[in-house]
């Protein structure tokens, strides 16, 4: 007997969801790449024979994507050092911009009450920039920072800016050092879900729950492959009181790959690894964004 209740519940369960991150052009391009690689591999194997297998493997491996070939340097000027002083000075001055009245909204998804910070956005951005421009370069000695072209014009790498209509803030940079090129990004948002909901929604293998240095709930999503030469991405969220902080690191220059369409996010499969490892480790990302300095409610 067919179970209508379960069928209906399953249909409800799979309805909605975020926009699809793949499209036919990307899939077609990936399919062609695989086909080309297979043809190259077959042709090389047939010509060289079993005795030359090792040599053929090297040739074929050289055709695969990876950081074996030197990645192209990021476009635009690079900053060998970042100066947090102007932002710290602005953050230390009294907040003079238009503030926000203390309001709250209810997250329709989960009923969580989202509190809006009252600090003027410019002041908050300066305060958060002061922290990130001071702390992140310290953990990347010898690195050169490049502006992420997706960030607003006139900003420096890692400078925090207000993102979207919500009172949330973003910051990012392309990072180049002796290991290669990667991208890091940070976000600070009013808490839109509880740590308990975040824990429940974090399911392995992609997502794991950790505990932050002060007992905070931390979720870590790892994507991509850890094999050398493959693109890896990690997204970390720390659930501070009333604030969720977000950090992301990818071992690729995301700016080097155009999104499938303007405004769309880039697909991991389309990125090319620019270094063998992430620019910042997961532990370092957690340490950075678990700092009380990143709260939206100072």
């Amino acid at each position: 007997m067919h179970d209508t209740l379960v069928s209906d519940a399953l249909r409800s369960y799979v309805s909605g969801g975020p926009p699809m991150t793949i499209d036919s052009a990307g899939v077609l391009a990936a399919g062609r790449r695989v086909r080309t690689r297979r043809r190259v591999g077959v042709a090389a194997g047939a010509a060289a024979g079993v005795a030359a297998l090792a040599a053929v493997s090297v040739v074929v491996a050289g055709l695969l994507p990876g950081p074996v070939s030197a990645p192209a340097p990021p476009a635009g000027p690079g900053w060998a050092s970042l100066d947090p002083a102007p932002f710290c000075a602005a953050a230390a001055a009294p907040a003079t911009g238009p503030g926000t009245a203390p309001t709250s909204t209810v997250n329709e998804k989960n009923g969580h009450v989202i509190e809006s910070p009252t600090e003027p956005a410019d002041h908050a951005a300066a305060r958060l920039s002061c922290y990130l421009l001071g702390e992140v370069p310290r953990r990347l000695p010898g690195a050169t920072f490049y502006r992420d072209p997706d960030s607003p014009g006139g900003t420096v790498p890692l400078q925090v800016y207000r993102a979207g209509v919500e009172p949330s803030f973003s910051s990012s940079a392309i990072v180049a050092d002796a290991r290669g090129v990667g991208t890091i990004g940070f976000g600070v948002l009013p808490a839109y879900e509880s740590p308990a909901d975040a824990t429940a929604g974090c399911q392995p293998p992609a997502c794991t729950v950790r505990t932050g240095p002060r007992g905070e709930v931390v979720t870590v999503v790892v994507a991509g492959l850890t094999r050398n030469g493959q693109v890896q991405l990690v997204n970390v969220r720390v659930y501070l009181a009333r604030t969720i902080t977000f950090a992301s690191a990818v071992n690729a220059n995301t700016a080097a790959t155009a999104p499938a369409a303007p405004g769309e996010a880039r697909v991991l499969n389309d990125l090319r690894a620019g270094r063998p490892d992430l620019p910042l480790s997961i532990d370092t990302l957690i340490e950075l964004i678990a700092a009380p300095a990143l709260t939206l409610f100072p």
């Binding site: 369960y13 077609l28 695989v34 948002l189």
Partner: protein
């Protein structure tokens, strides 16, 4: 007449969304679902000109299920969108993930063993017959019946419904 890349694009446009919902039911994560659908279509592309039109949907569904099962076996990480700086879209994604979702059902579904979950989803979401599910999963029909019944019982418990319905 041989099918072309344009045909492939048309087929993707028609089938990607339902396959994504099917993949989400299997894996419980939209990003992994996208990854599974992408891997499925990339594999399909390798055989695109040779697959019989009348068996195309079944063939694609089989690729996706096999990809899901092998994906779980080797515990490869799912493909995500590299969206490090965009906190706004991060909020939207998280808000969107749960829209219309019965979290209890989702959790119960993800607790089922993988092949049992696949049987339940194929049977009750994809509306496949027991014979078709048995063929796709390489199980005996009796096994499909018993596995599906157990899975449905678990889901009904999660939904707070009496567990009296059987295959």
């Amino acid at each position: 007449m041989a099918r072309t890349d344009a045909d492939f694009t048309d087929y993707f446009a028609a089938r990607a969304a339902p396959l994504r919902r099917f993949a989400f039911a299997l894996c419980g994560d939209w990003h992994t679902a996208d990854d599974l659908v992408q891997a499925t279509f990339v594999k399909l592309y390798q055989h695109w000109r040779r697959v019989e039109p009348e068996s195309l949907d079944a063939y694609v569904r089989r690729i996706l299920v096999n990809t899901f099962l092998s994906h779980r076996r080797d515990r490869r990480r799912e493909t995500l969108v590299a969206d490090p700086p965009d906190a706004a879209s991060d909020v939207n994604r998280d808000q969107a993930v749960g829209q219309g979702v019965d979290q209890e059902l989702g959790r119960a579904l993800q607790r089922l063993p993988e092949r049992q979950r696949a049987a339940v989803v194929l049977r009750h979401l994809e509306d496949m017959s027991i014979t078709e599910v048995a063929d796709l999963l390489g199980m005996a029909e009796g096994t499909v019946k018993s596995q599906t019944a157990r899975g449905v019982d678990a889901l009904r418990r999660a939904l707070g419904a009496p567990t009296t319905m059987k295959e």
